[in-house]
């Protein structure tokens, strides 16, 4: 379409140099991948060993009775909520518990793990920093 519209204008000649040269163009012998990652290792006798951990597995919860759908009605008003911050999470979840403990007199500054404090990210499956999950 790009070349045709330019030819219709009548001044431009030649092949389409701007669009990417994918495996859909070129002769039959032209073999090029589309960027899929290798999910294993090629051994010395050219056999491919699949690593099961590298194969992505989609974990989808049961969606029966789920009310949200792909599109939103045009009748819905525009607008958005401000993005959530760490301070908001702290104020909603942790601050009330700390206040209650301070009032009861059982607040221990050395034992903050019971409010959700994590001194290191070692040993966690989903580490927050450096982030080791894809989101």
């Amino acid at each position: 379409m790009g070349l045709l519209s330019q030819l219709a204008r009548g001044l431009v000649r030649g092949a389409d140099r701007l669009s990417p040269f994918t495996s859909k163009r070129g002769p039959r012998s032209f073999n090029k991948g589309r960027g899929a990652k290798k999910l294993g290792v090629l051994t010395s006798n050219k056999k491919f060993l699949l690593v099961k951990e590298m194969v992505p597995e989609f974990i989808v919860p049961d969606l029966t009775g789920f009310k949200l759908r792909p599109y939103v009605s045009y009748r819905a008003p525009e607008g958005s909520e401000p993005p959530a911050t760490a301070k908001q999470l702290f104020d909603e979840l942790v601050a009330p518990r700390i206040e209650k403990d301070v009032k009861d007199g059982t607040f221990d500054p050395d034992n903050l793990e019971k409010y959700g404090f994590e001194p290191t990210q070692e040993g966690k499956l989903f580490q927050l920093f450096p982030k080791n999950y894809v989101r």
């Binding site: 519209s5 919860p61 959530a84 999470l89 499956l125």
Partner: protein
């Protein structure tokens, strides 16, 4: 040069001598009246700056000259390149539509466009024609002000370019209803999304990834 050609292909520019009418520029009527290579006499139009334009779709205006002089009506169409305004039910002539070989057609009244100097905006409370100017309010908002009384003429809500009227929209099977979209079901928690799903589905993962370094 090629990049500009690509960009202009995305939003087609109208040719130089395009004759505007009351039809949309991408319709069969436009293609019929503006075949490629047509050269017509130029229509001279009083140049009005883009931000000086005062009459919008949905405004009430009074017609000053012509058969319906003195009558007020709503603006149903604005054609800026020709300074035209079509007022509902006023300045009408009659014509036949839907003619076939057997049927002579329906006789309807069709409105002719009016130029901006045959039109005057109307004060909202007086309902008399006034001169209008663009001015800024205390808050910095740009509004139309009637010169005679100083009242503000609010710009009526403009229709969407795709022609959808949200009030009359009927939800399809893939549309979330308004109540479901606005319902707040988020429960804040200190777990990440992935950890919550693992708890909900009862997935237990005791293996840990080997430590690796990006440097």
């Amino acid at each position: 040069m090629r990049l500009s050609a690509l960009l202009s292909a995305a939003r087609p520019r109208l040719p130089l001598g395009y004759r505007h009418g009351t039809w949309p520029p991408d319709s069969a009527a436009a293609r019929l009246r503006n075949p490629p290579g047509q050269r017509r006499r130029k229509v001279f139009v009083e140049p009005i700056a883009e931000d000086d334009w005062k009459v919008f779709w949905g405004d009430t205006v009074q017609v000053l000259t012509g058969k319906d002089a003195g009558k007020q009506g709503r603006v149903t169409q604005v054609v800026r390149p020709r300074n035209w305004v079509v007022v509902e039910g006023l300045n009408t002539h009659y014509r036949y539509i839907n003619r076939t070989a057997k049927y002579s057609g329906t006789y309807i009244a069709s409105e002719a466009p009016l130029l901006l100097n045959q039109i005057s905006l109307v004060d909202p409370e007086d309902r008399k024609p006034t001169e209008v100017e663009w001015r800024y309010t205390e808050e910095g908002e740009r509004v139309r002000v009637s010169l005679r009384s100083g009242r503000i003429l609010p710009v009526p809500p403009q229709p969407r370019r795709d022609g959808i009227v949200p009030e009359n929209w009927i939800d399809g099977p893939k549309d979330t209803s308004v109540e479901d979209a606005l319902a707040k079901t988020y429960k804040p928690s200190l777990k990440t999304f992935e950890e919550e799903i693992m708890d909900a589905m009862g997935i237990v993962e005791t293996r840990r990834a080997k430590k690796s370094y990006w440097y």
